[in-house]
């Protein structure tokens, strides 16, 4: 006699987690489909996801090294080592938030763990992230700029924290978005604002200096994305400080700490994200039962 499956008003968190773990293959399938769909009917296909960032790096290089020199050495590389992370985060959250609404057709017709939809949106963003990451590496190789090899291993906890955080937010937001479609527009605005609070365009130390000047004490590193972005910059960009032209005093760009400092911050972010993830799973589970009728 096969085991019983119960459809009832409430399904426990533990059961949800188990069901989700059993849907791994479905997630990987959905990720592949999304990647394929994105470049369907385009001649260059997946190459676009590499050409786009390559072109952007080129333009930033032109603007910030030649036309409007900012003084920061290899500004394009600096910018991009943070931007790849941010691109992953923002596309994951934005596609994740609308995952339930844009897949209404299958949500209303087939019974499956709906959590896989926002999660596979994160997975698809991860695939695009890898292409961009490769572009950054190629650009660095072309510029004979070497990453910080001693810090490379810290990328693992950083990436893990980023993925869990994106998944947690996607789960939460996709569920809420079913009821309030404004959420997906709010998220866009919010993500744009958030980006300016993360040291991507301005270096970390410049942010800190500004805050210090105005005596603002903000728990800057409490923002889980900040240590993750810093880790990527530390690894890919690897220039901690530089000496501006015509000055003898070096200017700090990134926090001067060892890999363990970065790692512990990333682990902190990971722990926080995991808590958020289970909260997301819980909230999702509470309101998932009504998705099919609300969509």
């Amino acid at each position: 006699m096969p085991p019983v499956r119960v459809v009832a008003a409430n399904v426990g968190l533990w059961q949800r987690t188990r069901r989700l773990l059993r849907s791994r293959e479905l997630v990987s399938f959905l990720v592949r489909t999304q990647v394929k769909v994105r470049y369907k009917n385009s001649v260059l296909g997946i190459l676009w996801s590499m050409l786009n960032p390559a072109m952007m790096i080129g333009i930033y290089y032109l603007v910030f090294a030649v036309i409007l020199p900012s003084g920061v050495p290899l500004f394009a590389v600096y910018l991009f080592s943070g931007l790849v992370v941010w691109n992953l985060f923002s596309t994951a959250i934005m596609t994740g938030t609308s995952a339930m609404v844009s897949n209404a057709g299958i949500v209303k017709k087939v019974a499956f763990s709906r959590e896989v939809l926002p999660i596979s949106a994160v997975g698809a963003s991860l695939v695009f992230f890898f292409f961009q990451f490769i572009v950054v590496l190629i650009v660095e190789a072309a510029m004979r700029h070497s990453p910080a090899w001693g810090y490379v291993w810290v990328l693992i906890p950083a990436l893990a924290a980023l993925l869990v955080l994106s998944a947690a937010l996607s789960l939460l937001l996709s569920a809420v978005n079913v009821y309030l479609r404004d959420v997906q527009h709010l998220v866009e605005v919010f993500i744009f604002l958030w980006m300016w609070l993360v040291p991507i365009i301005y270096p970390y130390e410049a942010h800190v200096a500004v805050f210090e000047r105005y005596h603002i004490q903000i728990p800057y590193l409490m923002d889980p994305v900040v240590p993750i972005v810093l880790t990527f910059q530390r690894v890919l960009y690897a220039i901690v400080k530089y000496v501006p032209k015509g000055s003898a005093k070096p200017v700090a760009l990134l926090p001067v700490h060892g890999p363990l400092w970065y790692c512990s911050l990333d682990l902190g972010a990971l722990a926080g994200s995991l808590v958020l993830f289970f909260i997301g799973l819980y909230v999702f589970g509470r309101i998932e039962g009504d998705f099919a009728e609300e969509l």
């Binding site: 006699m1 119960v6 459809v7 293959e25 769909v37 299958i106 017709k109 087939v110 499956f112 309030l180």
Partner: protein
């Protein structure tokens, strides 16, 4: 294997909130602060039944009675507000059109998507892919985007996937109606094959034929409650009885509203069917008539006023609910003039060469040259026909057989075709209608 309960529906109720207009923007929430006005609506109330593993159950009911909602609750797409559903075994469902396809993807990709959502691994889908495509007969279109499919093609693909994932429980919501006839036959064959493999089937249909053909058991939903649960034939009969009552009720209401169009007092049908009797003059027993014998069907009516525009319609159906004979007084060139009071119209069949079976007689009285139906009674009377030899089909006539050369009697000489077209007026037996007072 011991039979077990594949589906247990325990006190399932489902409440929908009906908003006058669905507001899903924050702006709306600000404009209408507090709780948005809504009406609660129980689409299902305390549904309770059990389906044994390997059983086939039809769910019937009027539009909006909650059939799809029930199926969605069982399939796990909607969550019941109260109660729970316990399922044993894997479930595959095909709910209304579409079956969860992404219009932008091709048929091929959608097969993979759908089968993966139903829980199949990639390897398994690859293995079954050819079967699915072959079943759907969509080889030529499999790499086209699904948005260019016709609705029949949609259903073909959906059904092909749903049955090829080898589920233990199959849940189908009246989708077969969209497929063409050959596909419907194919689906029925597939369902029969699954039946033999012990797959539990739950399906919604509006076709009494299909319900009885496929299922032994049926469930009738009315306004969200389960009002009948029993053998398919009986439930369908009860359902049709219900529909007829409602039709008459609304006809009565309409008549009442129409008021004084001169046809008697409002709310009273000018003429109604009081009964029907089947007699077999010349037959020894009154239980059954011999095939080819004489048969007389007398329809009794009760007129509230004198009428000269009543058309009496007679419909004889066999056990499979196939009409073997349908005729009416107009067609027979007979125009009854019904006086106020009780009277009868008799149809005499000099020779009724029907095959051995049980037949039902349905009667209707219509107003000439309009759609207005004075009264109709389904399966008002029944009779049985006995035949010495029992050929298949609906006719039982003498057949001569030979190994003919040119001299043998041609087709015109013998009867070679069996008329099975429903509703056709057979040319053989010509009923003679007679009307008269008591």
């Amino acid at each position: 294997m011991d039979a077990y309960h594949a589906i247990e529906v325990a006190g399932v109720s489902k409440k929908f909130k009906l908003f006058s207009e669905k507001s899903t923007t924050i702006m709306d929430r600000f404009v209408h602060p507090g709780r948005r006005p809504y009406r609660e609506f129980w689409a299902l109330q305390g549904i309770e039944f059990v389906v044994e593993q390997g059983d086939q159950v039809a769910v019937v009911g009027k539009n909006g009675s909650g059939k799809s909602t029930l199926l969605k609750c069982i399939a796990g797409i909607l969550r019941p507000t109260e109660g729970e559903v316990r399922l044993r075994g894997s479930v595959s469902s095909l709910l209304e059109l579409g079956a969860g396809f992404q219009p932008e993807l091709t048929g091929r990709e959608n097969i993979f998507l759908n089968a993966s959502l139903l829980g199949l691994s990639q390897r398994e889908v690859t293995r079954r892919f050819d079967d699915i495509v072959a079943f759907a007969e969509l080889e030529q279109f499999i790499d086209n985007q699904v948005k260019y499919y016709s609705s029949g093609m949609y259903v073909r693909l959906g059904f092909a996937v749903a049955i090829n994932v080898s589920p233990d429980i199959l849940i189908v919501d009246e989708v077969l109606a969209v497929g063409d006839e050959s596909f419907q036959h194919k689906c029925l064959d597939a369902i029969k094959a699954m039946q033999e493999e012990g797959v539990t089937l739950l399906f919604v249909t509006h076709s009494p034929d299909l319900a009885q053909k496929v299922c032994e058991r049926a469930i009738l939903l009315e306004g969200g409650s389960m009002t009948f649960d029993g053998p398919a034939g009986e439930v369908m009969l009860a359902y049709h009885e219900r529909l007829r009552e409602e039709e008459m009720e609304s006809a009565r209401l309409a008549a009442a509203q129409a008021g004084g169009d001169g046809s008697g007092s409002p709310g009273v049908t000018p003429i109604r069917i009081a009964g029907a009797a089947v007699e077999y003059p010349g037959s020894e027993t009154s239980q059954a008539m011999m095939s080819g014998g004489t048969c007389r069907i007398a329809v009794e009516y009760e007129a509230a006023q004198s009428l000269d525009d009543a058309v009496f319609v007679l419909d004889i159906r066999n056990h499979d609910n196939v009409t073997v004979l349908n005729t009416n007084t107009d067609l027979l060139g007979f125009f009854p003039e019904c006086a106020e009071g009780v009277g009868r119209v008799g149809f005499t069949f000099e020779s009724l060469p029907l095959a051995q079976d049980a037949y039902s007689v349905s009667v209707a009285i219509q107003k000439r040259t309009t759609d207005r139906r004075y009264d109709a009674r389904e399966q008002l009377a029944s009779f049985s026909v006995a035949a010495p030899s029992t050929p298949f089909g609906v006719l039982s006539v003498p057949v001569a057989v030979d190994m003919g050369g040119r001299d043998a009697p041609g087709p015109a000489g013998g009867v070679s075709t069996v008329e099975t077209v429903p509703g056709a007026v057979t040319s053989g037996p010509v009923p003679v209608a007679k009307a008269g007072g008591r």
